[in-house]
Symmetry: C2
């Protein structure tokens, strides 16, 4: 049972949910992926990078395991095969050799774990859904893995203010489904939603496809609780939409990748769930047209614009060649996915139709399709969201998630193509234009 | 000329723009105002509270003034009558006795001022538009006033991403007017917009009436620059919508009231300007109905709901008795102001009409009016926005801006009425329901 749970992450994909105490170079948003002609092998990270040296940390002893076994009755994993899934990242590019995975259920247990580890100088790596694509959620050496998997309780939902309080290990899609009964939605959405944990979303300041509409987590997170390496519990658990008491310390934990502590609970503002959702998929001749469309979409679709994504033809080739997905439009150098949603389906449809007609007649778009039915919407989103999965089929993956000023967004991909030449199977560019 | 500029703040009103190095108890959102039967006198703050003692700071000398005069050629004010306006807060409840006001134009000048003051142990108080209602923008003793009034340059506007960069002394309404030419709007709006500075808005984490729609400044501020007490310039000037590089230190400056440093420049995300705006003003029998309407409005109006404000009958009496304003609806215990705005006027009107008809037929509202014409909209907003001004006519003002869970929002006002009995002219409750 447990093995199944732990290994399920191997079926997961996309960005989002890693917290850890060892810092990584990181960046966000638009992805430039370079695939080398190399067969994938899950080599130990420490072997691949022999220059990496373990810090001045202790080695795990039987006494340590005994301590945790007493603390977490039946929630301590030491079996090597059971640990395999949590030692390996989803992309299969990083593998650690942790001998211990802990599954606390409460903040107090996390506190006791960290206090003990701090006293014993044992390195730890927090792990949420292990859906991250930059290796941040798995050990580099033999760090103890602290999983938030069993910290999955919803604490409260105030359906007037839209404030949800929950533990850090709640899965994003489960939360979305829960608040959906109160006509609310989660303010972030990303491909990994079926597995990623809200605590990991905060720790990595995950943006996702709806950042454009609902803004960053710095705005929608109202409060959080975290445990420092010392075991001290930091309580910033406000549920008020605005709370100006003292410094807003919780903001530091958002995006700090677990380097300041482990997030154990979250309160977050949930916007109204759109009553209707439509998706348009369009072909464009140049990246400049993609940017013009973005500006026009913001202007014409305004408050109903939920997402604006782009992918280039090499990206489309990837999901077509490797996943047998079909493009709903003819061949173009660039494709744009626009999602709209609002409180009145008829109004939304009118706005989207007017926008598309205007852009067709002004010549910005030559081909496109619109979907309002959920299966068709899912198919179109699949082209964009299954990109990481499609790219893995090619082999070893160099993935750069970067934020750049919009006008210089695509230059990086062109430069990269020149730079790597025929060393790579393909160089693809895709991502959230809405993030800037 | 200069006297005029400095004293103009006496015509200003409402919350928003103070930065200072001396911390205050503070809070936000909904206002409970208690007015004592007392004639207003602008007494020196240090005389009113003789228990307050100046910290271990130096006294200003002629040499200090010489230093600043050389640094800020012609932008150093020492004349007592010229200083009067900046020594006094807008409500006329706090008055300091600063002998020096400095008007830097650049971050570098602010840096040199603070470095000098730090070396000489001279206390300072930063001042934006001096529109604050809690005395945070004026000296308590003889602090040097550092005004951002001349730091009013717009640095750049990227109309694709909607990112505005400007100096901290830009007036909010001037920025709104500037970005309006690119079909954008500022993500915050408050009564003091004609005077308050964007730097002060950030320092106090001003919410205002559109927090409901555009979220808090923690989400919409993309970057800032600040000068620490040592003179060190902290550069967090990202203009990217998402930037996960390192800790998000800028967040600490937002709402820290100048205790960490003086904000000198800001980059902020501007949403699309609504193409049409409508305002409804409604009468309600109970506060519970106000909350039910809020929930329904969020559900039915969704993405076009810009503001949801309430005021009680004592608030309405205040603006009617003291400012001769007229209510557009008959008498009720509570009133609600709803503002909507979107990208299609016809759609917005249909949504608002449908919402109001539903609430009328379900009996939640008994009387109401809707305005789409700008003068009528301004008149309705006047009832709510000129509240602080109306209350000042009554005399000395105890003002509590608090955030509470919505369900307990109004209990505080009722409790306060019992507590103060006939000691007060009136106890009124009003504010942003949308803030939570």
């Amino acid at each position: 049972m447990f093995t199944t749970q732990l290994c399920r992450h191997l079926e997961r994909w996309s960005v989002g949910s890693a917290t850890r105490f060892i810092n990584h170079n990181r960046s966000v948003c638009t992805s430039v992926s370079v695939f080398a002609n190399k067969t994938k092998q899950i080599e130990l990270t420490r072997n691949r990078y022999p220059g990496l040296k373990k810090g001045p940390y202790s080695d795990l002893t039987g006494q340590d395991v005994d301590y945790f076994s007493k603390l977490l009755q039946g929630r301590v994993i030491t079996d090597a095969s059971d640990l395999e899934g949590s030692n390996t990242d989803w992309l299969g590019t990083c593998r650690g050799s942790s001998q211990l995975l802990l599954r606390p259920k409460t903040t107090d247990e996390v506190s006791k774990i960290l206090e003990y580890c701090n006293g014993r100088k044992l390195a730890v790596v927090p792990q949420g859904g292990n859906t991250g694509l930059v290796g941040g959620s798995v050990p580099v050496f033999d760090e103890i893995i602290i999983s938030t998997q069993l910290m999955n309780q919803i604490i409260s939902l105030d359906d007037i203010s839209g404030t949800l309080e929950c533990q850090a290990g709640c899965v994003l899609a489960a939360l979305d489904s829960y608040v959906s009964d109160s006509n609310l939605t989660m303010p972030l959405d990303l491909g990994a939603k079926g597995s990623c944990h809200i605590g990991g979303n905060l720790s990595t300041n995950a943006g996702g496809v709806r950042l454009l509409r609902y803004g960053s987590l710095h705005g929608s997170v109202l409060g959080l609780e975290a445990v420092l390496a010392s075991g001290e519990i930091v309580d910033c658990k406000s549920t008020l939409r605005k709370d100006n008491t003292g410094y807003d310390l919780k903001q530091l934990f958002i995006g700090s990748e677990g380097t300041l502590g482990i997030i154990t609970a979250v309160s977050i503002l949930c916007p109204q769930k759109p009553k209707s959702v439509s998706v348009a998929f369009l072909g464009c001749e140049t990246f400049e047209i993609v940017l013009s469309l973005f500006k026009e979409a913001k202007h014409s679709l305004g408050e109903i614009l939920l997402a604006f994504e782009f992918m280039d033809s090499a990206s489309m080739d990837t999901v077509r060649d490797n996943l047998n997905l079909t493009s709903p439009v003819s061949e173009f150098p660039f494709y744009v996915l626009i999602e709209t949603g609002g409180s009145d389906g008829k109004h939304d449809e009118e706005k989207l139709t007017a926008f598309l007609e205007n852009q067709m007649s002004s010549g910005l778009i030559a081909d496109g399709t619109v979907a309002t039915e959920s299966t068709k919407i899912a198919n179109i989103w699949g082209l964009r969201e299954r990109m990481a999965e499609g790219l893995m089929v090619d082999g070893y993956n160099y993935k750069y998630d970067v934020s750049l000023p919009l006008s210089k967004f695509y230059q990086l991909v062109d430069d990269m193509r020149v730079r790597v030449g025929d060393l790579a199977t393909r160089v693809v560019g895709y991502g959230h234009v809405g993030d800037g």
